[in-house]
C-alpha cells in the first residue's frame, strides 16, 4: 500500500485537522474496510426512573425511564415509548438496573432487555427472605440496524401483589447504552 486516496461524492468538505501542539504524531489506519467512527456518530445515552413504576405480579412491565442524563444523538425516547432506537447501525453495549428495595416477599425478580418487542436478555435474581436490598442488573452487546431496531427494558416480579420501583434518582433504576463498534 503506497498511497492514500481521498474521494468525495457530493458537496461539502472534509477537514483533517492537526492537533494544536508541536511535535509529530502518527495515526495509523487499520488494514480493513469499514466506516471510521468518531464521537459525532457514536450514539450514547443514559436515563433513569424519576417517578416510581408499578409492576403487577408476574407481568413483564416496560420501565419508563423518564429522566435523561445525556442522549448524544436524541435516540432515546423518554416521553412516549421509552426505547433506544439509534440511527447508526452497529453493535451497542446496553446496561440496565432496576432497584426493588425490600426483597423479602419476592421469589423472582428480573430486569429484561427487549429487542424489537421481544425478550432478548434476562438478568434474574431469586432473593431469600433475609435480603432487604434487591437490584437486578442486565447487560449485553446487541446489533441494532440503525433504522428499525430498538431496545427497551421490562421489569418482572412475582411477589404475589403489585410492587413499585424504589428510588427516584439516577443512582437506582437506570438504562444506558453506547455504540461499541460500527456495523
Amino acid at each position: 500500500m503506497s498511497s492514500i486516496v481521498i474521494s468525495g461524492d457530493t458537496s461539502g468538505t472534509l477537514t483533517l485537522a492537526a492537533p494544536a501542539v508541536s511535535g509529530t504524531n502518527t495515526a495509523t489506519l487499520p488494514a480493513a474496510t469499514g466506516t471510521v467512527m468518531v464521537s459525532g456518530n457514536m450514539p450514547a445515552f443514559s436515563a433513569y426512573v424519576n417517578s416510581a413504576v408499578s409492576i403487577t405480579n408476574s407481568v413483564y412491565t416496560k420501565i419508563t425511564f423518564q429522566a435523561e442524563e445525556f442522549d448524544t444523538a436524541s435516540a432515546y425516547d423518554n416521553v412516549t415509548n421509552y426505547r433506544f432506537q439509534p440511527l447508526v447501525a452497529g453493535y451497542y453495549q446496553i446496561n440496565s438496573s432496576i432497584y426493588w428495595g425490600n426483597g423479602s416477599s419476592l421469589t423472582s425478580v428480573r430486569s429484561t432487555i427487549y429487542k424489537n418487542g421481544s425478550i432478548y436478555k434476562i438478568g434474574a435474581v431469586t432473593p431469600n427472605s433475609t435480603i432487604m436490598d434487591i437490584t437486578t442488573l442486565v447487560n449485553c452487546v446487541v446489533y441494532l440496524n440503525g433504522s428499525t431496531d430498538y431496545v427497551e427494558i421490562y421489569g418482572f416480579q412475582n411477589s404475589g401483589g403489585t410492587l413499585t420501583t424504589q428510588g427516584t434518582t439516577s443512582a437506582y433504576s437506570w438504562f444506558n447504552g453506547s455504540m461499541v463498534r460500527s456495523a
Binding site: N57, S58, N158
Partner: protein, 53 residues
C-alpha cells in the same frame, strides 16, 4: 383480580414457574393494560378473552 390471578383461577395447576418460562404476561406502559404476550404451555390452551373477562 389481576391477569395472573385470573389465569391461575382458570388453571389452578399452573405454578409461578410457568410465568417464568412458558407464559409471558406483558404490560407496555402505554395505558392498554396487561395482556398475554406468549402462551407456550404444552397442555393448557391459551385462555380466551371471554374466559378472562
Amino acid at each position: 383480580m389481576n391477569l395472573a390471578e385470573k389465569i391461575m383461577a382458570l388453571y389452578p395447576s399452573l405454578t409461578q414457574q410457568d410465568f417464568l418460562t412458558v407464559i409471558t404476561l406483558q404490560n407496555d406502559s402505554d395505558g392498554k393494560g396487561d395482556y398475554i404476550a406468549k402462551w407456550e404451555h404444552p397442555t393448557l390452551a391459551k385462555p380466551t378473552d371471554e374466559e378472562l373477562a
